[in-house]
């Protein structure tokens, strides 16, 4: 019988039989190692959780009272001989790649990651391994990000322009990750930053965790509309087009996402402005990250898995597509399971925006 792999892909999630734990499982299990706090990776109902220290308060805010152990980057936890340690993934604050080693064999599960330093998440660190389990949300060569300084310069100009023209400014981004990244890069000499409740709850959780964020003001029914219109409003995607947002009109609203680099996707969103800003690695980022691991095998969990694995195979990697339930944001290009593999298709989490970043 062939030796069993240290990690397997099961209908509950990525499983380590030797250590008897799962990584980012989508059905309840006894022990879950969590890469980051987005809802397609950190789900409710597991008995015990292991995550990075910076994720603690956000996980508690999102999942309620959970039995959670937290560690620093590089710290090791051992389960039945399997060493588990976390390394920075650069995706959002507290996001981690999970490194597993057992009898000299090393596996790394990337979760979601980006290679560029966003100035707020601990920057991505490549980890040497034999087997790399990677996302590829933007695994097509048409996705190439500009340096964030350029994007934020455009955003700050746009805000000033709106203000000068009597328009309110609404900027839309996911509540964990994108919202804080935007917040830390706004030019606060232009005005104040007002936040939607969902975002402010996340900000508060992060501040409880000791993260320093720029000042924000939560929008409540008592907040003066005129004051808000002079500042900038940070809102989650779920607020777009709602009466909550409309009452601040007339406004210009900007949407931040990697998908905004394609004109068609931008038009579909009907945003006034699309800012190409992603918390995922772009094409070059994915390739450099995979190269840096020095791995033999790459497993691709979500994104353009079919094309990206084909390309990696052509340039000499042993690349395989696996089917997972990550990347459950509404507009992520999920690909169907490869033929012959019988997976039961589970409904995606489809709730409020507690969601993943794009």
């Amino acid at each position: 019988m062939a030796k069993k792999n240290l990690l397997e892909f099961t209908d509950r999630g990525i499983y380590c039989a030797q250590g008897n734990f799962y990584i980012d499982p989508w059905l309840p299990v006894d022990y879950a190692v969590i890469t980051h706090a987005h809802s397609d990776h950190a789900r409710i109902g597991n008995k015990r959780y292991l995550a990075h220290h910076y994720s603690a308060q956000v996980l508690r805010y999102r999942l309620g009272e959970i039995q959670l152990q937290t560690v620093e980057y590089g710290e090791t936890v051992t389960k039945n001989g399997v060493s588990i340690s976390l390394f920075p993934a650069g995706h959002v604050i507290g996001s981690a790649q999970v490194r597993l080693s057992y009898q000299g064999e090393v596996w790394v599960v990337s979760g979601d990651y980006k290679v560029a330093d966003d100035g707020i998440s601990t920057p991505f660190e490549p980890v040497h391994c034999h087997h790399f389990i990677s996302e590829c949300t933007f695994g097509m060569p048409v996705y190439k990000w500009k340096p964030q300084a350029e994007v934020f310069a455009e955003m700050n100009n746009w805000w000033r322009h709106n203000r000068a023209n009597g328009l309110a400014t609404v900027i839309v981004g996911y509540s964990l990750g994108k919202a804080q990244r935007i917040l830390q890069n706004l030019d606060l000499s232009t005005g104040k930053v007002y936040t939607h409740g969902v975002i402010e709850n996340t900000n508060e959780a992060l501040r409880r965790n000791g993260i320093q964020l720029n000042p924000t003001e939560r929008i409540t029914p008592l907040t003066s509309k005129d004051e808000v219109r002079k500042g900038i409003i940070l809102a989650p995607p779920s607020a777009v087009g709602t009466p909550w947002m409309r009452r601040f009109g007339p406004y210009d609203f900007g949407y931040c996402s990697g998908w905004m680099s394609i004109r068609g996707a931008k038009k579909r969103r009907a945003a006034d402005r699309g800012f190409v800003l992603s918390d995922h690695a772009d094409w070059d980022g994915l390739l450099s990250a995979i190269n840096a691991t020095g791995c033999e095998t790459v497993y691709l969990t979500h994104g353009y898995t079919a094309s990206f694995s084909r390309y990696l195979s052509e340039i000499g990697f042993d690349a395989r597509e696996v089917y997972t339930l990550f990347g459950g944001e509404e507009d992520a290009p999920t690909q169907a399971p490869p033929e012959g593999e019988a997976f039961e298709v589970l409904p995606l989490y489809n709730g409020e925006d507690l969601g993943g970043a794009s």
Partner: protein, 536 residues
């Protein structure tokens, strides 16, 4: 080119009409006059001839982007636009160049005659001196796919604001076969526009549809409420042919289709009657195929539309005639401001004197005294080989473009069947990377036979749900096409149905579109091929 690329980007970055007009004005005021004319040509659908075919452009772009050809194709399916795909895939350079739009278009026009090698050198060198946005706009012009999300009306509004001319005047002056190389901005905005181009057509007046669905018909009472007294209206059949404007000026004739395409040579049967018209006459009407005094279905006309050469056989089998319904110019004078009744009287007068009454026909006026009576007559449309009824206010002038109020089209129900989706393909433009183009099938015994492709008619929310279904229920992939588990049922509407030897199902539909998603129907209850054959 910088300014033009920026214009395109700025227009893309706002959904607000006023902002778009402001951006257009800013552009007009900041570029040389020749650039203005080139921009107007592009924005009104006058593209330069394609100097390099798309497959060569593709091949050279793939070489330069240094990726495998299949990955280029997959990227194209994600992006949904060739020019944009290339702009995204080519190496980034942060350079720009100072060439104007006029200069670039002159180069594009000149390169067509060069050798393949020269064209390649020119193209790669050109790409090398542009940033991504310039590349995108340049590619759009080069590959003939230039379309812009700004209506001609907005462009004309901006132009009217800076030139102090009426929008209708400018619309008229931008019609016809002008070229940006020879038509100057000065001529365009001159106070007294001399009618220097004798071929120039008038803007078509287009009717608004009376909105109704198969479940919700307009009652005579509702018509009375919204349109007023039946006596104020003239009714005609809505003919299903090619809308055309026919011009006779200074001994020359011109036939324009609604797409502003000069189609004079496509209809030689009409030349004798047009030549017999007095100089300074412009008619509006519908071109249809006729046989022994009877109009034939659109499908017969369709067989000759695409042909380059009209064979003797085609001319014999599908001879055309005109059903005229309006006169826009008479004795060299623009009479569009006269009332419907007055124009009709002139038209009838002209028709009375034609030596070719079989070719120059009048659209008969439907006599009716009440909305009740007209509703009843509308049900006979199909027997008349008409699509429904046109309503024209007797006191109304001939206006510019689609205007609400004085011209209404009141179509009869479209034909429809319930069909099962079996293939899906990603869309383009706004719908890129979403499965939006579907192939539908009906039952033939226990098999599903494909019979139509359709891609419009669903809401964005529905598209998103169908897209999700497709991604989770793919049986096979053939390039960009996915075979989907047959399950979803849609009602497919269409305007006409014909026998076809080219399609497996043996039928071809005209204007198929999705009317609605039949969530209430299981696939077993979709229609059969017999139902479709019964409609032939």
């Amino acid at each position: 080119m910088r300014a033009f690329a920026q214009l395109f980007l700025s227009l893309d970055e706002t959904n607000k009409t006023n902002e778009k007009v402001r951006i257009l004005k800013e552009y007009f005021l900041s570029v040389p006059d020749t650039d203005k004319m080139h921009m107007l040509a592009l924005f009104t659908g006058r593209k330069p001839k394609r100097p390099i075919n798309a497959s060569l452009v593709r091949t050279w772009a793939i070489e330069m982007a240094y990726i495998p050809a299949w990955l280029f194709e997959e990227s194209y399916h994600v992006v949904g636009d060739l020019g944009e795909t290339i702009a995204l895939l080519l190496p980034k350079n942060n350079v720009s160049n100072s060439k104007t739009l006029t200069e670039w278009i002159a180069e594009i026009n000149a390169i067509g005659n060069k050798t393949e090698e020269e064209r390649k050198d020119w193209l790669t060198a050109s790409w090398d001196m542009m940033d991504a946005q310039e590349k995108f706009v340049f590619n759009k012009i080069l590959t003939g796919g230039f379309r812009v999300g700004v209506s001609q009306n907005l462009v004309i509004k901006a132009l009217a604001d800076i030139s102090n001319l009426e929008a209708a005047t400018l619309t008229h002056r931008l019609m016809g076969k002008w070229q940006p190389e020879t038509y100057s901005f000065e001529q365009l905005i001159a106070e007294q526009g001399a009618l220097d181009d004798i071929s120039r057509p008038y803007p078509f007046f287009l009717a608004y549809p009376i909105q109704e669905t198969s479940e919700k018909q307009k009652s005579p009472v509702e018509l009375q409420a919204s349109l007023g007294d039946a006596a104020e209206w003239q009714a005609e059949w809505k003919w299903d042919g090619i809308r055309a404007q026919m011009i006779k000026r200074q001994g020359q004739i011109f036939i324009w289709s609604r797409g502003e395409e000069l189609a004079t040579e496509k209809f030689p049967e009409l030349h004798p009657f047009l030549n017999a018209l007095p100089d300074g006459t412009v008619l509006d009407g519908e071109i249809l195929t006729f046989k022994s005094g009877q109009p034939l279905p659109f499908s017969i006309l369709q067989t000759r539309i695409g042909r380059k050469n009209l064979s003797k056989k085609i001319l014999e089998e599908s001879p055309v005639a005109v059903i005229a319904y309006d006169c826009l110019e008479f004795e060299g004078e623009d009479i569009r401001s006269k009332t419907q009744i007055a124009r009709r009287a002139i038209l009838e007068q002209l028709q009375l004197t034609t030596p070719f009454p079989e070719v120059f026909r009048l659209s008969p006026i439907i006599n009716f005294t009440s909305w009740d009576e007209l509703s009843e007559m509308r049900t006979q449309s199909r027997r008349m080989i008409a699509e429904g009824i046109m309503l024209k206010r007797k006191s109304a002038p001939y206006q510019v473009g689609r205007r609400r109020g004085d011209w209404w089209k009141w179509k009869i129900d479209p034909l429809s069947v319930d069909a099962v989706m079996i293939y899906a393909q990603k869309g383009h433009g706004r719908r890129a990377d979403l499965y939006t183009d579907y192939t539908f099938a009906v039952w033939d015994g226990d098999k599903l036979v494909p019979f139509a492709k359709a891609y419009s008619g669903l809401t964005d929310e529905e598209i998103r749900r169908v897209d999700n279904f497709v991604k989770r229920n793919t049986l096979e992939k053939f390039g960009p096409v996915r075979t989907v588990k047959p399950e979803l049922v849609f009602e497919i509407g269409f305007e006409g149905i014909n026998r076809s030897t080219r399609h497996k199902s043996g039928i071809a539909l005209r204007f198929p579109r999705i009317l609605r998603w039949r969530l209430d129907k299981p696939k077993e209850e979709a229609d059969t091929i017999e139902t479709l054959r019964g409609m032939l």
